[in-house]
């Protein structure tokens, strides 16, 4: 009883405990803020990593598998599966705008089904926007203005509107202005043309201006309007031997931006049917007996005669099927079910075995690296926060010294050693509680307003801590992680209790007579 009374009084009548509470508050705020921001950072990476994978992927590299429409029908008939789509994943070489050549991952998709599984349409970067993002204070984002402001009719005819460019991306097609016909196109990641699309500090992109007046929208070199890319891929035969390289010049329909630099800088999307054709994975008739001309030479007589060639039709092939789970289905359970469905399918259609992986397994390398990085940062910050424990210990040591006489008085009144120890531990826990609550509040305020704070720092002091050019996100994650915050707050309370423990034991073991005589 006396402990609670004295804790209240000591807390409200002394400056030192308030300093200790402040130390706890700052430490907990620091760790909770870091955890929330880094957790948000991880979540963004995870979300972006999931973007083009779906929940589960069935994958057989190079030659892939046939009858994928049947497989998709079976998958989509299962209640655990929401949608599935067949794609082709391969590697290729692209010659970009500005004569830059590089190796990329090439994904051949049927856009609508691909969007249903992965949300591809949402990643298309070039589309009309009404409001600039928070960091674009001057409204310089070109998507805010019409492409051809003076002549809307001409813009529509030439498909030079943001709406049309977005639609081009959805179809992976673009108008060929020479033949005035829509043709298969390519959608590269926005950073593939990083030398043309210049990412601004606010995270938006300014296209390269090829004339002296970059303020004029129609003077920009806009990749989805002017750009063409040469794509080269290497088809393989049934034995995995390379055939002749296939090459196509493709107009750029749009560019995508997932927020994952690996994807955005190294991946291009094309139409699946076109890629099947380039890789010889499309449906094709194959001669199994006879020759293509039908003329057969008799080996004994040397006579030529006409024989109808015997052919079979090889169905089109894809090398990956992406699957998204129905709402509430756990991803590992989904993987197991998809594996079962694929096994039944492969037995029935004589298809080869394939790898079935969850999106986390596919991205295990980079997810693991980011998780480890976050854990390392938290451990380092927690070590720094240990200073709060020592600060509480130092302050309590000094307070026990200052309050030695009180301890003697309490002992003379019959207070036990345990009671005295509990008084100080309780006092430490109270300081921890007050400090942690303040720290939690501070953390919530900081995390919720981290972007305005960051902008203010940039304006007032010229400090850009979170440079989107480096971190690749236009905004700092501002999601509060309630469980992480709760753990940090409880940790703050316990840390203060631990800090108070040694001084508490010292107080409990003070000789009451000496304590009473203490000056």
């Amino acid at each position: 009883m006396y402990q609670s009374l004295l804790t209240r009084r000591y807390l409200t009548h002394r400056i030192m405990p308030l300093l200790a509470a402040l130390a706890v508050a700052l430490s907990t705020a620091m760790v909770a803020t870091t955890w929330s921001v880094m957790g948000g950072f991880l979540q963004i990476l995870l979300d972006s990593g999931r973007t083009f994978v779906g929940d589960v992927r069935i994958f057989r590299p190079s030659r892939g598998f046939a009858h994928y429409d049947e497989l998709i029908a079976r998958l989509e008939a299962d209640p655990m599966v929401d949608r599935a789509c067949a794609i082709i994943e391969t590697f290729g070489v692209v010659s970009l705008v500005g004569d830059e050549t590089r190796a990329v991952r090439v994904i051949g998709v049927e856009p609508t089904s691909y969007d249903a599984v992965t949300g591809y349409f949402d990643t298309l970067y070039w589309h009309p926007i009404d409001l600039p993002n928070r960091a674009d204070r001057l409204g310089e984002d070109p998507r805010l203005r019409p492409l051809v402001p003076d002549n809307p009719d001409l813009a529509r005819r030439l498909e030079l509107t943001w709406e049309q460019i977005e639609q081009n991306g959805r179809e992976v097609m673009r108008m060929d202005r020479k033949i005035l016909r829509r043709v298969p196109a390519i959608v590269p990641g926005i950073e593939v043309h990083g030398h043309v699309n210049r990412r601004q500090p606010g995270g938006w992109y300014l296209p390269y201006a090829h004339v002296p007046n970059p303020q004029r929208v129609d003077d920009w070199f806009l990749v989805p309007v002017h750009g063409e890319v040469t794509l080269r891929v290497l088809p393989l035969d049934e034995d995995g031997r390379a055939l002749e390289m296939a090459s196509r010049i493709l107009p750029v329909a749009n560019e995508f931006r997932t927020g994952n630099y690996e994807f955005d800088s190294n991946m291009v999307i094309v139409r699946r049917d076109m890629l099947q054709e380039m890789l010889h994975m499309d449906e094709a008739e194959r001669i199994v007996e006879g020759s293509s001309s039908g003329i057969v030479v008799d080996p004994d007589t040397g006579e030529e005669r006409f024989v109808e060639p015997e052919t079979v039709v090889d169905p089109a092939r894809a090398n990956a099927v992406l699957v998204s789970g129905a709402a509430g289905v756990e991803v590992n359970a989904l993987r197991a079910r998809v594996e079962e469905i694929y096994e039944a399918f492969s037995r029935e259609f004589g298809q080869p075995a394939a790898r079935v992986q969850t999106w986390e397994q596919i991205n295990a390398g980079f997810i693991g690296a980011v998780r480890k990085e976050i854990a390392l940062v938290l451990v380092l910050f927690s070590f720094i926060s240990l200073t709060a424990v020592f600060l509480v210990l130092a302050i309590f040591w000094s307070m026990v010294n200052e309050k030695t006489k009180d301890i003697g008085i309490l002992r003379s009144l019959g207070a036990s050693r345990a009671g005295i120890a509990w008084l100080w531990v309780r006092y430490g826990l109270s300081i921890g509680l007050v400090g942690s609550l303040l720290g939690g509040l501070l953390s919530v305020l900081i995390v919720r307003n981290i972007n305005p704070i960051h902008e203010w720092l940039g304006r007032a002091l010229g400090i850009t801590v979170w440079d989107p050019k480096v971190y690749y996100f236009s905004e700092i994650p501002s999601r509060i992680d309630p469980s992480a915050t709760a753990i940090v707050l409880i940790g703050g309370v316990l840390a203060a209790g631990v800090g108070a423990l040694i001084p508490a034991l010292r107080a409990a073991h003070l000789d009451p007579v000496r304590a009473l005589r203490h000056e």
Binding site: M1, L6, K405, D406, R411, S412, G414, P512, V513
Partner: protein, 242 residues
């Protein structure tokens, strides 16, 4: 018929100052009867306070050299918890320097002893009765109008009267007063002694008091005076008026 309530038997107490052993009490013996007011006289450093601390269970005699008996029970045989309970229930301390807690009000300082004795649940159960007793004691001490004041707002005399009320809150068997007027002027000191006397007579039986002092005129208020000389207790020749 007189009854010995508190007794020191051949008590030795030695303090160590650096590497030097300083004997303070060398076989001091004292018997205190129930309801008796005993004054222990002695010069500064004669061991008066040490004897009082030993009687109150705040300290222990040198190992195997003397014993303190309360109602016939040796304090040396009591464990830590029993000794805590002894201090909380059976004795009340009044110190020369008052030893009030500066963060607490007058009323809270007085109730502090009751909180320690009864614990959270016990105090909560008796809260109103204990509060009424604290207010009554403070009224008796002339501090009924100072309940919410802090010690720093009180005079020396008022602080000491608060300390006396605190010592009496648990109705101790023995009141142990260590130079209760030592920091006060003569008039205020007299008033404090009057207050102690008033308290002594306020209960059902007479309160047993052991008071140490270096002042003969203060000691005269007691029933009996003893003197600490060379670490031993000797009876004073001049008996005090009853």
């Amino acid at each position: 018929m007189s009854e010995t309530i508190l007794e020191a038997r051949q008590v030795h107490k030695t303090y160590r100052l650096g590497r030097v052993d300083v004997p303070v009490l060398r076989g001091a013996s004292l018997r205190v009867e129930r309801g008796e007011w005993v004054a222990v006289l002695g010069a500064s450093g004669s061991g008066k306070s040490t004897l009082l601390h030993l009687l109150g269970g705040l300290d222990r005699p040198d190992r195997g050299r003397g014993s303190i008996l309360f109602e016939g029970r040796d304090l040396a045989h009591m464990g830590g918890h029993e000794l805590d309970a002894y201090r909380a229930r059976s004795v009340g301390f009044v110190f020369q320097a008052y030893h009030l807690l500066p963060e607490l009000s007058v009323l809270e300082n007085v109730l502090l002893g009751a909180m320690v004795r009864h614990g959270r649940v016990g105090f909560a159960r008796r809260r109103s009765a204990l509060r009424a007793r604290a207010e009554r004691l403070l009224d008796l001490m002339g501090l009924g109008h100072r309940l919410r004041h802090r010690p720093v707002e009180l005079s020396g005399g008022e602080r000491q009267r608060t300390a006396i009320a605190r010592a009496m809150i648990n109705e101790p068997t023995v009141l142990l007063a260590d130079e209760p007027t030592g920091n006060l002027d003569e008039q205020t000191g007299g008033a404090i002694l009057d207050a102690i006397a008033a308290l002594r007579d306020a209960g059902e039986g007479r309160q047993t008091i052991v008071m140490v002092t270096h002042a003969r005129e203060v000691a005269r208020r007691a029933d009996r005076q003893v003197r600490l000389r060379l670490g031993e207790v000797v009876e004073e020749d001049v008996p005090s008026p009853a």
